[in-house]
Amino acid sequence: MKIRNREEGQETQLNMTSMIDIVFLLLIFFVMTFKIVELEGDFSVRMPLAGNDSVAMDSTELPIKLRMRADELGRLTSLSLNEIDLGQDFDQLRGNVISLIGTTTPVEGDDGPEIEIDTDYNLRYEYVIRAITAVSGYKDGNEVVKLIEKIKFAKPRR
């Protein structure tokens, strides 16, 4: 029997076209969905409803009160910690917090000092976060030193 079209030594060539099509499709998909990841973290705030709060209040001494005032545009105008005016200086706020709690070693468990943030309604949230950053700790090299871990908000002002 004679087999037609058989030539000795013919090189078989893979057809690459379809593979390249798929590869480029995949490539375009991954390029489009690519997004640089921004690392995010949380400040945790434990705030049960005020009713059961009175029991917890007894265990801590005086809560530290931070008052934040804003102008009409939502910019910070002044900070005051326990009625001591601090201007707009977050570093000074941190210094005062350190001297208030007397120690820079963190207190274990739920017995740490507590801060209540009382802010004007239209103050920008960014400033609140900056204040929380200032009172909750500071960076010492790569180590984070914690100051106040219990944060709560006062009633919203209208």
Binding site: I20, V37, R46, T119, N122, R124, Y125, R130, F153
Partner: protein, 136 residues
Amino acid sequence: MAEGDLTPMIDMAFQLIAFFMVLINFAQTESNDRVKLPSSQLVKPPEAPLEFPIILHVAKDGEIFLGGDSFTAETLRVGLNNEIAVIKAEGKSVKDANVVIRAHKDTAAGDVQEVIRVAQEVNLENFALRVKEDRS
């Protein structure tokens, strides 16, 4: 027919695919375009994911997004009740849930407080204020 050598091109294409595949992060789907988080130097990405997160996006004008639906501070309670129903159906209590608040940095602080107040009224008590890590 003269064919060019495709091997280097395919090598490069596969390299690129591998690169983007490794870096892709589907977990980022919880972000919202209208929210630009404030940043802080103190936060670290959490080691373990939060239990039962309820993610609330608060846009600059105080509009709240929960799972694709838009709410205001007054109507948010309905959305939260739905979330709580899901948590209860899994046999856990409301106290186990974590409310993750992703608020835009220029939102009025009072709007965020309103969100917290509404959540407190449905007995949620663990809140996390999500911020961007600032490594400068």
